[in-house]
Symmetry: C2
Subunit: 230 residues, 2 copies
């Protein structure tokens, strides 16, 4: 699976959040695509880029309840009617669509009765409408609230969650999560091949042991439930 991250930020070098995410997105099969850097938008090239990826992510800071104008400009140029509505090879219908949005406000403000008085899902309606029109599968939005107040351990958790959002099989259930971690452990431990990495082996052994325990628990629960149904 290949993922395209369409990033919009007018001052990306000044953004701690985006610089952090940029480091996180340095993964195999992930393409980072910053729209404000495009001098001229080559519509065909942009459409090919979309066609050549399986998961399309719009990533941006929340400016007045929407993406910066750069993303809208890109949308209005690149998303021609035929390309989005089109049938045949040109359509986006077999792809997944996700949003990574960052905000300086606390997440608790985004609810009815909260100080924003609107939910993140509600203000993302225009993007979901595009994805619906293109018959894409919509992933739950990934919201990053108040990155600047996160301590290092919360940031590390965010990094993993973000990487999973970009590359893990949807939906985000235990099975897909396990598969993702197992693959990532194996991939990343390769980098330690010239070092005697005892820690790596221990982590992997523990992970596999726990996974087997969970599988055992699951089949026990399944047996109990079967008993209940009889």
């Amino acid at each position: 699976m290949k993922t395209l991250v369409v990033v919009s930020h007018p001052k990306i070098n000044d953004s701690q959040t985006q610089q952090f995410l940029l480091e996180g997105a340095k993964l195999q099969d992930v393409t980072w695509h910053h729209v404000e850097e495009l001098k001229n938008i080559d519509v065909e090239k942009e459409q090919s880029l979309l066609k050549n990826h399986d998961r399309i992510i719009f990533q941006f800071p929340l400016y007045w309840y929407s993406a910066p104008s750069g993303l809208k400009h890109w949308e209005d140029e690149v998303l021609t009617r035929n390309f989005v509505y089109g049938d045949g090879d040109d359509n986006l219908g077999d792809k997944e669509f996700g949003i990574v949005v960052s905000t300086g406000m606390p997440l608790k403000d985004f609810c009815h009765g909260g100080s924003e008085n609107v939910t993140i899902d509600e203000i993302m309606a225009p993007y979901f409408a595009i994805a619906n029109r293109a018959k894409m599968k919509i992933l739950p939005t990934f919201t990053i609230a108040q990155f600047q107040y996160m301590n290092e351990s919360v940031q590390m958790q965010l990094l993993i969650d973000y990487q999973r959002y970009l590359t893990q099989t949807y939906p985000d259930n235990l099975k897909n999560r396990q598969e993702w971690f197992e693959r990532e452990f194996a991939d990343r431990f390769k980098d330690f091949n010239d070092i005697n990495c005892n820690a790596c082996e221990t982590i992997l052994d523990t992970f596999i042991q726990r996974k087997e325990n969970i599988d055992q628990l699951k089949s026990t629960i399944s047996l109990i439930k079967q008993g209940e149904d009889d």
Copy 2:
């Protein structure tokens, strides 16, 4: 009451709808403000413009379920946090906020189960969120669907409805409508002063006669209802 129409359209001269609305907006106390024509956005000047009007209208064609990027660019520059959140003289809290949006799709498509599968109100959420943040009073959105298919009489009705949207006292009830028409008749008939305008007098007389009939009917209905309550 002074109304500011903040218009966004990247090719306004080619837009039949916008040219039609431009003619309609040539009214006393209505300022037409096309954001794509601004070479550089002078934030202070734009904020003064907003402060000096009582009703703020965002007017645009629907491009991918939102305004063209020009409006977002204007928003991101002009709507500084202090200006929108601010207390004291600088706030927008005593103003009204409306949207005039045009679309080439039929209005019936904008509902759940319709081919757009989303309502106009839902996709306008980011604009309502701004208005809410600024504590402005939100007017019902004025949607123009498929202008190109309208015949002349439908267009003329649209023109009147649009002019009422820009200048009539909110809410749009019978009393405010009557007042609007009476004032507009009087104002516009002035232009006929060097012509012997019998038609004008007839129209005004008929209007006033009917208004009195309605008032009579209303007090009759009121009496009947009072009888029912006893």
